[in-house]
Symmetry: C2
Subunit: 720 residues, 2 copies
């Protein structure tokens, strides 16, 4: 799944190819650096050096090749084969390993038909198979596999509708409001929207609320096709027939198996514990939804009547976009099999001395088709991380904290593998000290990260210890790329640094990958890392090994880099004397979120009393600053300090959850109800204000104040 | 010609159609307004009311229909017929009228061939005739006239070249520099550029300097085609086959007949007084240049090899633009007839009591093809202005100052008719009190204007007295449109108000229409007005009566409006007691231009001494503020005051002209050497800094200081 943003620039691949393996820095130098969280880094520096030498570019390439040799949609036999491959590598490294099955509801397309008529004349019958000319630019060796499923949207119901069409741009709330303002109703229409701006499930969520009968989501060449750059296989961008598959689950309501919110879908779970059709909360569309290539969307859009669309709704197809309705009718007939199916997480464990405070790291393994970038570039890197941990184990290393590595299944259908596992082990996992995620591990050379504020400085520090294939450290290149405005997380309001950060920007965690159950359901501090580049084939057949070695990382040196960054995150969190959280920055950020919310409220002319939250935020910030001083000069015994540090994040959960979506419990970060991917900060308060719902907003201000006071009290109770 | 900028929004034509004639306001109301320049406005208010009732929407529509009934390229028999029509209307109104011929060098295409080959295969043979489907949206009734010349660029030499192609975006100096930086040479190549951003002649000027062998200029749909809105005949935008003709004269060097800079090309001028081939200053390309439709440019661009173009060079054609060179070869064979031809200005005069201080107003009459918008929407309005002046004459009105109305010929080839006339009468005209221009009179409902600062407030005041078909006054609508970001002059740095103006923005005068010889060669304060809308058919066959009545002004009420605004400009300037110039604002603007130039110099690390210019600008500004107080309370005898006011503008000329282009003598405004249309302020200084030429810049600072001191001294000498 992952949250993809457009990547603007292409670095010369030649520069990468020049360095097929990037050497680890020389072993711990004479002067050992001082690292936050460690009393003395000397021993850790030695382990780091040993670890850094292991992750191997060539081996990462081999993992990737094997993992992506066949389409491996969650629950398929090919998916199971990848679970076995991963489990074998875990075992070989010395991890206690198990393949953990869940029985979950998935959507599998049986037959998909979308056809369009202009004044009764058929102008399109699709979906057209994804295909590029095999005689040009080397063609594509993977496109003809009969195991490729037709392009579909997970969580769409079956359905047959025939209706006129309305074009609704990106299908954001603002877009639907604009249509209404222009007097164009989508009631009983099929809405045609383009990918981009928000999570696709949200497009369906809003369309359904506005009365649409069906939704078609296409990839406009303005967003990831020829307008951005050369199409695959000449370049990395989406060719005419390529479709972006993807789940249209209402992710901001709850992720995971739709039948079991808050409950693990183990094989033993009785059917009676699953929600029946009538009990289902509103977390999936009730109207048919399907993706289209621009090749199939073009005839519809071109023939559409009605007024000219607003000029900023114009995409890159060669005609003037109109809004409809009129002339064009579309017939959609989707037959989907929504049976229960078995999926397989792979869980590997390295026991530590402090068993009840595990460090968790994970990546999903299932793919819409081949998933070379999404997610197996992450899996390949993770396997080389595990390789490195295995070598440390052989040399007698034993981590202080238990390390758990998860290879999640069915992430694409809605973070299902990770969510069910978290729901199953919520009690133990509530004490986990961190969850480190990677999803799109490598699509190019530009490192980027998102994290809770308490771990932003931690991520930066780790990247200062890893060499970049482009020279200097990962951190150095990251800084350069941001100065040049590269990186997938390079725009969007949730990404701007909140003052007083003056360092490389690190995004906030919204949703779209497996950190969501950890952070937002059970309050485990999380990070998400990747190395990005121009990547136009997301969720299509062409996200395959051939694309990867042409455009992402031909010599796998960025795979190696990511294995190292991921590994150092795990090692440093597992072995630190004092948990290296930064509650000082966290507090400052929350204070500034409240300032913004107050400005929004004033602008919206809402009368709200922020005083309790303001006071609590200031108290939390003061406690954060104070605890940071303690962390820098820790007491002899750090157990109580570490427990407090850990529990302070958990205290930010509101046990009753957010309004409309109780599964989401974090008071500071969640995916936005109307964004899906992008984080909304202090979401209860912010969305109450956006909805101009004074009562809801005021209630959420109180809940936020309570959470901040709880968390501050925990930090304050630490003996100085 | 005119300086066209993109118009973003389409107002509902229904709103216009509702009011087929807009009534003039009731005759002078009980309380006569106080108008700057008049001791007592009572009598003028009566003349105004009489005048305002005359301009007639229906008659304007008839003029337009007659004038645009046939293609009337300058020097053609059809052009002569329009001269006779205009002269007849002038005479009918009581103007002393003559048709004034000049013998000038024009470019007429004999045969134009542009063909393209991809690996030897022919992929395009053009130019394709301009044609739209006659069965759709009413087709176009004008496109098949055999008198339509093939699309060509005036001032292109004949030539035959075959070469590889390089795409150079808009062909700005920055674009050519970028290509060089990317290692792509245009030496001996044919450069393919798109229209927009700068004057087309400048594209050729720079391409030639970079060693290109030929230039093709096409209209990208991103700039005035389907990307902006529906194509003609469905909408107002440029269809696939439509070509933008236009002169590629090096306008910023000098306009007019290329053989006679500074000299009038009268029929009597001996051949020996014309520059010979070898004496020609560099004011025309030496390489063949031709325009293309996107229909003809598309196959070339699509097949072009080389690197991907920078992403902001991507247009709206449906593939990724590459830079070339490679694979594609183009063969251009242009046969142009550059003979001397006769053109015809029409000059009408209403003698005033002060014969040596005429007010001049004008519009060109020649068109690339039919010229419904450019220029005859202006001509139709001007004829209704003349109609109104005629009624005043019948009623015994006699202007204080002589009024001269000019209908210029061969403007499209390089402001030839106006320039030759100005050159012929430079001595007398140097005392003219104003030149009021209109070119694209009406392409839609959004009023806009450019002017020297001394006339900005004058233009605003006039528009406050004219009703708008959309309700309120022209001024009211103008203000609304600017708030909504409409109007052709709505962007571009030369348009930003220089502090302290807080009123509607009025652009600076660069070039591209007939005010240039008046303002920039002989120092006559000038304005340029128009009423604009979405206008994608500029300089094509489709700028015709059918387009006009569908998209610009179906009921000619904006024609009526423009006739009224134009008329009040003339009347108020002709009859004012004190010339209504605002040297206060002029001075403040110049002070701020200098501040900007000093910042630019600092940024460019040039050491320049601005002190003389700073002191002179402050002196000029102080003199401007002082004279404005005198104008507000004028002495009994205003003759000396008016002479000073008039001569102060003339004193801003530098008799030796600008570096590299001595024909341009104004020290404050000129077209930019590398922009062509857009004004560069204090051009000698600014361009010296841009070229990092300290010596040139310092010399120009001194010249500017001299001019400002001369002008200030004239104002200061007025007895208070």
């Amino acid at each position: 799944m992952t949250h993809l943003r457009t990547f603007a620039c292409l670095l010369p691949l030649a520069a990468m190819a020049a360095c097929a393996q990037v050497s680890a820095p020389a072993a711990a130098s004479a002067t050992t650096p001082s690292v936050f969280g460690y009393r003395d880094f000397t021993q850790q520096a030695k382990w780091d050096a040993t670890f850094m030498a292991v992750p191997d570019a060539k081996l990462a390439g081999e993992h990737l090749k094997v993992l992506t040799s066949a389409p491996h949609w969650a629950s398929s036999p090919e998916d199971y084969a990848t679970a076995v491959y991963v489990a074998d590598k875990f075992k070989a490294a010395g991890l206690k390993t198990e393949i953990v099955p869940y029985r979950v509801r998935l959507t599998k397309p049986v037959s998909i038909l979308v056809e369009a008529f202009d004044d009764g004349q058929k102008i399109m019958s699709g979906p057209t198979p994804e295909h590029v000319d095999p005689t040009k630019n080397g063609g594509d060796p993977f496109q003809d596999d009969p195991r490729i499923l037709p392009a579909f949207n997970g969580s769409s119901p079956s359905g047959e509708v025939t209706a006129e069409v309305v074009y609704a741009n990106y299908g954001t709330l603002a877009d639907f409001k604009k249509l209404a303002e222009l007097g164009v109703s989508v009631k009983d229409k099929i809405v045609l929207v383009r990918y981009g701006e928000n999570f696709r499930g949200i497009k369906a969520y809003i369309a359904e609320q506005y009365g649409a009968k069906g939704v078609l989501i296409y990839s406009d060449p303005a967003d990831d096709g020829y307008f951005r750059g050369d199409e695959y296989p000449k370049g990395p961008y989406r060719p005419a027939s390529a479709v972006q598959r993807g789940s249209v689950q209402f992710l901001p309501i709850y992720p995971g198996d739709p039948d079991t919110p808050g409950v693990a879908s183990t094989l033993q779970l009785p059917a009676s514990s699953r929600l029946s059709e009538s009990q289902l909360q509103n977390d999936e569309p009730n109207i048919p939804v399907n993706p289209l290539s621009w090749h199939d969307a073009e005839p519809i859009l071109k023939a559409l009547g009605g007024s000219e669309s607003p000029r900023d709704w114009q995409g890159a197809l060669p005609f003037t976009y109109h809004l409809g309705p009129g002339k064009v009718t579309v017939h959609m007939k989707l037959v989907e099999d929504n049976s229960l199916r078995t999926i397989w997480d792979v869980i590997g464990t390295i026991p530590g001395t402090e068993k009840d405070a595990p460090v968790i790291a994970g990546n999903h393994r299932d793919a819409w088709v081949y998933g070379a970038v999404d997610p197996n570039s992450g899996t390949a890197a993770m396997l080389e991380t595990v390789h490195g941990l295995g070598v440390l184990l052989q040399q007698g290393w034993k981590p202080r904290r238990t390390i758990i590595i998860g290879s999640w299944d069915a992430e694409e259908e809605g973070l299902i593998g990770s969510t069910e596992w978290v729901e199953q082990h919520a009690g133990e996992l509530a004490h986990a000290v961190a969850y480190f995620n990677t999803d799109v591990g490598v699509s190019g050379p530009s490192f980027d990260a998102s994290a809770v504020p308490s771990l932003k400085e931690f991520v930066r520090e780790v990247t200062k210890s890893v060499p970049s294939p482009a020279g200097g450290t990962v951190y150095d290149q990251w800084k350069k790329d941001q100065a040049a405005n590269k990186g997938r997380r390079g725009h969007g309001s949730e990404h701007a640094n909140t003052p007083p950060e003056k360092d490389v920007r690190i995004g906030n965690l919204g949703s779209g990958s497996d950190y969501t159950p950890f952070l937002q359901h059970i309050g485990v501090p999380s990070t998400d890392i990747g190395s990005d580049g121009p990547y136009g084939v997301y969720h299509s057949v062409f996200d395959n090994y051939n694309w990867f070695i042409k455009f992402a990382d031909p010599t796998f040196v960025y795979e190696q880099q990511q294995a190292r960054v991921f590994g150092l995150e795990i090692l440093h969190m597992a072995d630190a004397d004092v948990l290296p959280y930064d509650y000082d920055l966290y507090g400052q950020n929350i204070v500034s979120y409240l300032t913004t919310a107050e400005e929004q409220a004033t602008k919206a002319k809402l009368t709200l009393d922020f005083s309790a939250a303001d006071a609590a935020a200031k108290r939390f910030a003061a406690a954060g600053a104070a605890i940071r001083a303690v962390q820098a000069n820790p007491p002899a015994h750090t157990a109580a300090l570490n427990v407090a540090l850990r529990e302070a994040e958990g205290a930010l959960l509101n046990p009753v959850g957010l309004p409309k979506r109780p599964w989401y419990k974090h008071t500071i970060y969640s995916p936005g109800e109307f964004t899906g991917y992008a984080a909304v900060v202090i979401p209860g308060v912010t969305e109450g204000i956006e909805a101009a719902d004074t009562e809801r907003a005021q209630g959420q201000i109180v809940a936020l104040a309570d959470a901040l006071n709880r968390s501050a009290a925990i930090l304050e109770a630490v003996k100085k």
